[in-house]
Subunit: 761 residues, 2 copies
């Protein structure tokens, strides 16, 4: 069933005439400057291949030594850079940690150079200068002129295949470099092994194994040229391997088809006529060379680059047309680019035959689902997966199934924390898989065995040896002595526990409900009433002395300070407000958060964001406060939610390369944008409610998978009319600040009446 | 069909009562001293597992640095050593180059030590002192007392599973070490990657990937304990990996079940009662952890060590009973140990489900055959595969099919040269696969597509870029300037080409027959009539000046000098004799070879043999002259063949640890022993003829797979009666010095009449 769905997506929809051309609003270049960490290259929705230029990955300049700047190249491409090293096939979108960057390809001409050279002198190697004037980045398509040799590079993709098209000047010495040692997060030489077979004069297969952020990772490939190469060769840059084994029997540097080693760069030689196009299809597989080849044959059988490009863009257009918004041209760019970025991750991690590599490094067959990877869950549980539950329920169902498969394959018996490519990298805190599972179960999206899923959540949440869980269970909090992030961990566990309780409630598992409801109140244990803030608590029950409420460093929190984290009780704002001393006190606290002047010194401590990622003391560039603007709804000041949300939308999202104030984080920032633009937000995933804000669009039509349509209209919408006078659901006035998930999935209409004056009620 | 056969082999034969106990004559310890390079551990016929003690592999003492002595530890065990480091699961038998040694296990007690320590002070690490007095090495069973902690170690095996049984003294601190970084040929740190899952408190699975003599090699495992361990842990000896990734989230050193890295040693803790036996089953797979587990469940479902041992020995006994010899007790030991060594390699390289990893690193299904690896073809084409064509035709058929599969998976389009574990290491010269293929086709053993096999042979023989083949084809010889082994290569190619011609003749492919018959005469191009020796020829057609006929160094030969190699025209002794100036000249040359005094300086140049491996100038410890003693048959001096053969049998094979004068070479030395002991030898594999010598047995009964029996009787046999007066085949006197393959496979009787006086005719 999945396969049929998949092939349908590849074909231009029959009703394409009814579709708008929304691909034109997608600007993949947004976020490629500063901290957005997006990439400009070609991919299809949730595609396995992300074929994109790398302007550097640091190892080139610094000979593989780590200098911290590896962070800068999380997506391989920095808008500020002046040279392109090549085009590689796998990229994270918007992460704050790096990996991937597999199989870098670069077309060159003239004297063969097998070193990339340095950015300050691109002619010193195979890299090339380029200009943004000669660059086109669209959904599913990327083009750039490589100035050094006047070669035009174009690329597009299917789910598992990257397609390259290089237009060469006339030369007897045209080359394509295949760099198998390049990679992102390449410091300390993450390439473990490489194996390549030159099957014939157009086909190459092999694999590359890395020990990067993913500890044990292998990517298999099949590479096909549109015309035979004249000759080929390789250089092994690992001195200890050069004379090993059978080098004495063969000249392995030239036209030798069986290649293996740790640091290998290959090249393929061509004669080209003026403007001759040499094309490459590059298929990936998590399982085997054979599967990579099968993927290529299934998804990209021909050599018509334009057709593959059109298919890629038609696929994107079909996805984008699921929401038709009316708004300004700039905001359409913001909206559809956000939708584009939201629909990149998690990525398909299975072959056309359904096989994939599991966390246990065994090959598995995905029966009845598509297997996904790249779960940046600390980020994406907040808004991205809830957004999927509305707009991509089938895929989110499969994502939960992928997480359950991960759990089944885990000897630790834990759901993923931050997983990619058959590994968990254990990045960030919490066990937020349970939020994603709960949200899918509560909203009726998950069609697997819910009790089994709940059991996996419980087992994960009771893994005593994981990041203080044992102490958290015993004492109700993590002691400050034990962990540098004792408070944020306690808060996140408490929220996650509430998610488990909600599932248990739905499944009538009373004991579990009671146990985890109790645990969900553990946030109170790290709340210091004397100062009104969350605060690290020592093992003896006293609060940490010398506490700095503004600093994000060493104060018990991860990616935030207590000013932001003290509001992290998304599942029980009412109790939180009571603990904080009531609505008035919370109101002034929230106001201060958004308006305070945060000295630069505190910004310097804050990871992953630009200076512009902060509004007052509110940090939007990181995730922990993403729900905070909506909390005014709980203190009878919804007009401030409306005002703040519109302000954040304006300040934090711009249709420019530096348009994102922080890491997009696999679509979480983008999902926040879409939810908030549409006028509501999932403050507490795991509940079936959304809290209302202020829509930024004039109207929106959401076409759901069930065939229903949910319409949003903002009457009197304008940049100044940010306040909501009243809201009608299907013509009836809403009396709360929430709508239910079923209100959306049943189809219908949400009408906001906008005004320039707040309705203070 | 294969599977059924396999399971039958595991069961004690129903006709076991008719069988003799021949296992008692097998002394695996023979050849473990000096240059034999055999191992004393447990294996079953052609088994994937060779579970054997490693007394060192050099990396321990020398911190991974190569000092040349890695050669000494080809089989992991040296009889001269006083300590055992542990027991690993894969070993070559008798090779002159090393690899393998995977998954070293060692039981210890007391304070945990994760370093092996040094031989001079075994208490400095987990290794232990041992004594040969407390050592039992039998076919399929090995036992030793480890003195340091008074632990008795026993081991046995099935095809794919090694079974350990350790008898501990009472202790709260008993340990089993699993060393995943140890290996043979470990200099330069051949371990590429290791992955381990502790599935539960008795089951561990994982894999180990190496870059040794096999360039790209992975062995998967499943390990099961007979009782749960109390706790476990690991140490990663690669400093750069210790703080990587998720170390900050977990204490991975203790009870952490997901382990990966480059240099890992694990340990498992037990409390043991006095004399408590802790057993381990350790299954291997070339394909996956899942397959390893399936192999374990299929082959070793229970925990009865004695039963597995009895099965292993019953399997050996069934094989050994295929030839029943009457001879002295010492010679029975020599004979059955030779048979044992001959039936170790090539090894089964497939799972019980038929899957295996191919040369292309893809997983393949062996349809209709068992896949084998470890083809030491330069050695084994001579007598081992011909021996299989008599005694193991089904297996040899599968071996040829395995070679054909290798060819199909080869991007170079070459049959194996020296292959093991999905790699070709390209060791030694020639393309002797073609001899094995030809011998199997000529003798009617190969039931695959013979024309396809011939095509593979032709393509291999025409691979111009391989070791001078292009020049050989163009000029009829390899020029001395091009290669240090120009003469031996030319001679070996000429013989191999004759093999191709024989196949072509049988298959009526006249053009191929003519082409390769012509090529088979190329040996003449390197024969210097002026001195009567093979001699390096320069590109200009002149012979190399400053030629030293005794030296094996830099004279154009590999593992031999021209005194030995000048006789290497096994396919056409008649022409060779004519070129050499006739029978008289050859007679005196042969006499000189066997009686000359070779100065020690020449021995120093000769690889792989002890001083005792040489008789006069005849080198039996290496292979090129293995047929030479039989050449007297072609110059009407068969009595000298008889005399020499009996002398070699006596001098080169002894029932002692130092009983082999050179590397056993995967059974080639042993196959020579068996053939010669039985009274005939395949001088030119690829022909259907055997040349007669002098039997050393009183009688022998060969039970063939086709149900027929071939009997050999030596009337008046004694140590002095080495001369053959007459030979009857099925009662009729033989008029030539040959018998045909069909004479054997039809069943029948060969009767030698022995005498102390030569019959000079």
């Amino acid at each position: 069933m999945k396969k049929i769905l998949f092939y349908c997506l590849l074909l231009p929809s029959l009703s394409v005439s009814a579709q708008q051309n929304l691909v034109k609003y997608v600007k993949p270049i947004i976020g490629t400057q500063k901290m957005g960490h997006t990439y400009p290259g070609a991919t299809v929705p949730f595609g396995s291949v992300q074929l994109s230029p790398d302007t550097d990955t640091l190892s080139y300049e610094l000979n593989g030594k780590y200098n911290g700047d590896v962070y800068k190249y999380c997506a391989g491409y920095k808008y500020e850079d002046k040279t392109i090293v090549g085009f590689s096939h796998t990229h994270f979108s918007g992460t704050g940690h790096s990996d991937l960057g597999d199989f870098l390809i670069m077309p060159t001409q003239g004297k063969l150079q097998l070193n990339p050279g340095v950015a300050s002198n691109p002619k010193s190697g195979f890299r090339s200068a380029f200009s943004h004037d000669n660059e086109v980045a669209e959904a599913g398509y990327y083009k750039v002129k490589l100035d050094d040799n006047n070669i035009t590079a174009e690329m597009t993709a299917t789910t598992r295949v990257g397609m390259h098209q290089y237009t060469f000047p006339k030369s007897e010495q045209s080359h394509v470099i295949l760099d198998l040692m390049s990679g992102i997060y390449n410091y300390d030489d993450k390439t473990v092994w490489t194996y390549v077979r030159v099957v014939n004069d157009t086909l190459i297969t092999g694999y590359r194994q890395t020990n990067g952020w993913a500890r044990t990772r292998t990517v298999y490939f099949a590479m096909s040229f549109s015309k035979p190469f004249k000759s080929y060769g390789q250089k092994n840059f690992e001195p200890s391997q050069v004379y090993k084994g059978f080098w004495r029997k063969f000249d392995q540097t030239k036209n030798f088809p069986e290649i293996a080693g740790k640091r290998i760069r290959m090249y393929f030689d061509f004669s080209t006529e003026e403007n001759e196009k040499v094309k490459i299809k590059f298929a990936l597989s998590p399982v085997s060379q054979d599967n990579a080849l099968e993927n290529m044959r299934a998804e990209a059988p021909g050599w018509d680059f334009e057709k593959v490009k059109q298919q890629a863009q038609a696929t994107w257009n079909t996805e984008l047309n699921k929401i038709k918004v009316e708004t300004s041209e700039d905001d359409k760019i913001n909206f559809y680019t956000a939708m584009y970025h939201a629909f990149i991750n998690p990525t398909n991690y299975s072959d056309v035959n359904g096989q994939y590599k599991g966390l246990d490094q065994n090959v598995h067959q995905a029966n009845g689902f598509t297997n996904y990877t790249t779960f940046s869950l600390w980020d994406t549980y907040r808004a991205l997966h809830p957004f999927f539950n509305i707009m991509q329920p089938s895929r989110n169902n499969d994502m939960v199934k992928s997480m359950m498969a991960h759990y089944d394959q885990s000897t630790l018996k834990m759901l993923p924390v931050w997983s990619h490519y058959a590994n968990d990298n254990w990045c960030m805190s919490g066990y937020h898989s349970v939020s994603v599972v709960a949200d899918a179960i509560i909203k009726g999206v998950y069609n697997g065995d819910a009790n089994q899923a709940l059991d996996a959540c419980i087992t994960t949440a009771n893994h005593r040896s994981y990041e203080g869980i044992g102490e958290y269970i015993d004492k109700g909090y993590i002691a400050a002595e034990r962990s540098g992030t004792s408070v944020s961990n306690t808060l996140e566990y408490a929220y996650d526990d509430w998610c488990i309780a909600q599932m248990a409630k739905k499944l009538n598992r009373t004991a579990v409900y009671q146990e985890f409801s109790k645990r969900s109140a553990n946030w109170k244990n790290v709340f210091d009433k004397s100062i009104g803030f969350m605060r690290p608590k020592m093992a003896d029950g006293s609060f940490k002395k010398d506490f700095d409420a503004l600093s994000t460093h060493g104060q018990g929190f991860i990616e935030g300070n207590t000013w932001n984290y003290s509001f992290f009780v998304p599942h029980d704002p009412v109790s939180m407000i009571a603990e904080m001393g009531g609505k008035q006190k919370v109101a002034s606290r929230l106001d201060s958060l958004f308006t305070m002047h945060l000295p630069d010194i505190f910004f310097a401590d804050t990871e992953d964001i630009t200076r512009e990622g902060i509004i007052g003391g509110y940090v939007h560039g990181n995730e922990p406060a993403h729900h905070v603007a909506y909390l005014y709804n709980w203190i009878d000041q919804s007009w401030k939610t409306q005002e703040r949300v519109r302000m954040i939308l304006k300040m934090q999202y711009k249709p420019t390369p530096d348009g994102l104030g922080g890491n997009d984080d696999c679509g979480q920032m983008s999902a926040w944008y879409m939810f908030s633009s549409l006028g509501f937000y999932p403050v507490s995933p795991g509940s079936d409610e959304y809290s209302l804000g202020s829509p930024a669009v004039k109207s929106a039509a959401l076409t759901l998978e069930n065939g229903k349509t949910f319409n949003i209209e903002a009457i009197n919408q304008s940049d100044k009319n940010v306040y909501v006078q009243k809201v009608l659901l299907n013509g009836k006035p809403l009396t709360t600040h929430t709508i239910k998930h079923a209100d959306i999935t049943s189809g219908g209409k949400l009408t906001f009446y906008m005004s320039s004056k707040p309705t203070k009620k």
